[in-house]
């Protein structure tokens, strides 16, 4: 009982201090124009199509693809599991729960990357997190992921590794033709998508 009183005497004041300090000292959400410019300049918003392909193949539950094109274009073709949030309606109330959250990794895409990038700029300025832009947009996705071009014989090994990964991803995602790969390349299963150097290491843990 004596120890309990001592414990209470120590932790209650510490708790009060923490409760009293302004929240932004603990974590800051708001972004100044300078910071936004810096982030945009560094290109932190881009996620490589290979990473997205890998997440799709792995059925990563945290991935959410967001199509910012018009509903007509969306009906015509959309990426697997994507939802439609037209850029013109981005700020509508119905979408704020989708864009301002921290359960999913949202990936904006458009045909190129211009519209998707605009969507990112707007949401980022509002202080929203967890929104990314698909690098190269649908054009690159079709041209390079779903129907990858075989590298020339003189290409470095990474090119082949990437080609192999894309090939298997395309097969899993139901695009492109399935042609057997070079016999001397390692088994497809071992191929990991090339991760961009920018990506921060996500903490791992748990049992």
């Amino acid at each position: 009982m004596k120890t309990l009183k001592l414990l209470a005497l120590i932790i209650i004041p510490l708790g009060i201090i923490l409760a009293a300090v302004p929240a932004d000292r603990i974590r800051h959400f708001q972004l100044t124009a300078d910071e936004l410019l810096q982030e945009a300049g560094a290109g932190v918003q881009f996620i490589s199509p290979d990473v997205v392909a890998d997440m799709l193949v792995q059925k990563d539950p945290s991935l959410r693809l967001i199509d910012v094109r018009t509903p007509e274009e969306f009906d015509d073709y959309s990426m697997p599991g994507a939802i439609n949030v037209p850029l013109s309606n981005l700020l509508a109330d119905e979408y704020s729960d989708i864009l301002n959250q921290n359960a999913y990794v949202n990936v904006f895409y458009s045909n190129g990357s211009v519209y998707a990038n605009q969507a990112w700029m707007i949401t980022r300025q509002l202080g929203y997190e967890n929104n990314l832009v698909l690098e190269g947009g649908l054009n690159y996705w079709f041209g390079n992921i779903l129907s990858p071009e075989e590298p020339s014989q003189t290409s470095p090994n990474e090119e082949f590794a990437r080609y192999d990964f894309r090939k298997s991803a395309a097969a899993a995602l139901g695009g492109g033709g399935v042609v057997s790969t070079e016999p001397d390349v390692p088994a497809v299963k071992a191929v990991k998508p090339p991760v961009s150097a920018k990506a921060k290491k996500k903490p791992s843990g748990g049992c």
Binding site: I17, A103, P203
Partner: protein, 196 residues
């Protein structure tokens, strides 16, 4: 500056070595608090010994205070500290199954290793059970896969979900825990056990 490993301030192998030392300290604290005894652990459910409650919540609160203060001083980047993802369905069902295992077996995984280390045969049998259980889950995974991924909520903090600042939530947690400690002290007097 922290956490050290995700920032690559220390190498992977150093991290593993330090994990071993952290484990030694963990095992030491568990054993010397009495967590190697199943009857002491089970005491919380009958009121005669609340050591689990006291150690468990004091530990969580100490660490929480430490992390929040370190973050306040800029010593640690909380974004790089692992926050368990929340899959609502599997967290609840898994927790219920674990609770049943707790009252039947008298240990949880960490404490059973501790008990086994000092020669408790019941703890060793519990550890054998753990292996069977883990294997059983993997073997029948196909049946539970849907359940395993159902109701994914991301990695929310309870403080955020309640719309509170981390600090304020921490203070409330401290007050609730101290309240439980007072009740526990009372219960230990009310339902005393002969030495066990």
């Amino acid at each position: 500056m922290g956490p050290l490993a995700p920032y690559e301030i220390i190498s992977e192998n150093t991290n593993f070595l330090l994990a071993f030392f952290i484990g030694i300290a963990f095992g030491w604290v568990l054993e010397s608090s009495g967590f190697s005894s199943s009857r002491k652990l089970a005491g919380i459910f009958y009121g005669y010994d609340a050591v689990v409650l006291k150690v468990f919540f004091t530990g969580a609160i100490t660490c929480m205070l430490g992390l929040l203060f370190m973050s306040l001083f800029g010593w640690i980047d909380l974004d790089l500290v692992y926050v368990n993802p929340t899959y609502l369905t599997s967290a609840i069902i898994g927790g219920v199954i674990m609770g049943a295992g707790f009252i039947m077996g008298g240990f949880c995984p960490g404490t059973s290793f501790c008990g086994a280390a000092i020669g408790k045969i019941d703890a060793m049998v519990f550890v054998v059970g753990l292996f069977i259980g883990v294997y059983g889950f993997a073997f029948t995974y196909g049946w539970w896969e849907k359940l395993y991924y159902a109701n994914y909520l991301g990695e929310p903090k309870l403080s955020e979900a309640l719309g509170m600042k981390d600090g304020l939530f921490g203070l409330l947690l401290i007050i609730v825990a101290l309240g439980m400690f007072v009740v526990a002290e009372w219960a230990e007097k009310k339902f005393p056990r002969e030495e066990y």
